[in-house]
């Protein structure tokens, strides 16, 4: 395998000129997102530069505590992004989402890094950080969809919940259709992605590994493993987030506390 071709910093800077194409279209069609696009691009550059500096240092140290601390930071960033995008109040959700995120990462990482890849050192930064990052990044996106479906359903279609709560006398049964709907809405995009992977999309991790010099066979084996890890990790994270949050979003009479949602 050939060594990967490095990108010169000047060439990378020149690559930003291609942004002119979408910006011209946005301006022509008067789509008011140019400012948002520029802010996002600047944020991306700063965040990735900082991450590059952090990761260089973290990879060099390769210390279990430092690596775990980095994963904790990733979990909290995911939690705050989810809480903001679902429009929830952080006070009620930070603990349930943290427990859900930490448990799903612990289960998935132990299984795949310890049992499948059989690493001697499961906290090895080269594996632990990118794989956990992929699980958490995907989980965040699917959690936003699933949790929005769940809480908006309880708020806007509450008549089914109260109908089932009185008639069945069982809160688990009353919540079941809302949880089922959240899981299916949250995970459907992931199932669709999995079904066409390799046909109409080449996943980033696999592409990155191939560019980094790995053989396509190894890259594909890793990709299969990571897709399974992402799917199970997202499912666990979403279900745990819902189940643990339920302890905080209903009052002692079983009524949904609308005030946990930001109007």
């Amino acid at each position: 395998m050939k060594e990967i071709v490095d990108i010169d910093i000047i060439d990378l800077a020149i690559s930003f000129t291609i942004l002119a194409i979408p910006i011209v279209f946005f301006l022509y069609f008067r789509v008011k997102i140019v400012r948002d696009v520029l802010i996002s691009v600047i944020r991306m550059i700063i965040q990735l530069m900082l991450v590059a500096i952090y990761l260089e240092w973290i990879f060099k140290m390769n210390n279990a505590w430092v690596n775990s601390l980095w994963v904790l930071v990733m979990i909290f960033v995911g939690i705050f992004t989810t809480i903001g995008r679902v429009r929830l109040h952080w006070k009620e959700f930070i603990i349930p989402f943290f427990i859900a995120g930490l448990s799903s990462v612990a289960i998935i990482d132990s299984f795949f890094l310890g049992f499948v890849i059989k690493l001697d050192y499961v906290f090895d930064a080269r594996y632990f950080i990118p794989i956990t990052g992929m699980i958490l990044g995907n989980a965040m996106n699917h959690n936003v969809v699933g949790l929005s479906t769940y809480f908006n359903g309880l708020s806007e279609k509450s008549e089914l919940y109260y109908f089932l709560l009185t008639n069945t006398g069982n809160s688990r049964m009353a919540l079941r259709p809302y949880i089922a709907s959240a899981i299916s809405q949250g995970l459907n995009p992931l199932i669709a992605t999995m079904s066409v992977i390799g046909l109409i999309s080449l996943p980033g991790m696999m592409t990155g590994q191939i560019l980094g010099g790995s053989s396509p066979v190894i890259a594909i084996k890793y990709q299969i493993m990571i897709m399974l890890a992402i799917f199970v990790g997202c499912t666990l994270n979403l279900i745990l987030s819902i189940i643990i949050s339920n302890a905080f979003v209903f009052d002692s009479y079983g009524r949904f506390r609308e005030e946990v949602l930001k109007k």
């Binding site: 089914l160 009185t166 069945t168 009479y253």
Partner: protein, 197 residues
Amino acid sequence: MINFDHVSLRFQDKTIFHDLNLDIKKGERVSLIGGSGRGKTTLLKLVQGYLLPDSGTIKIYDEVLTSKSIHHLRKEMAWIPQNINLPVSKGIELMRLMDITDKSTSISIFLEELGLNASIIHDDFSKISGGQKQRIVISIVLSLDKSIILLDEPTSSLDDKSIKMLLKVMKSLENKTIVSASHNQVWNNQADKVIEL
């Protein structure tokens, strides 16, 4: 059996109930009447613990309704809401959600007594009328055989013939305490007690 003792409730700066006393006996059929906004639905929600009084106590089977007691008291209650536009597509789907597919015989009997063919339970709600949907939901809820039946405007989508059939079914139920909120005169005339709010 259902007692309201000096119950007061204000909602959005409006007094709904002030010092309300009620005594509904076991097996009684009670109709709540009164214009819109007088608190008929609110009263049914207070019984179910979905609204709480600002003062006074509510007792069901001599047990004060609290956050602890409500969970087992609800097991005695059946609830037919006014809004039957539940987000389910078929009667059979609602039965599955309630884990009562074993009650299909009882549901079929109620459906037939209400003038419907038992097979309608498999029909899509979007293809049947509001009155048929209402009778399906009523049949499903009655099959639960609960001792307290709470109904909010049970005749709102029914024609005169269906109302008569529903009244006959309700009369045939034994040892049930039935509390309904209705604007329908024929329905209210059949009650043991009419309470004007």
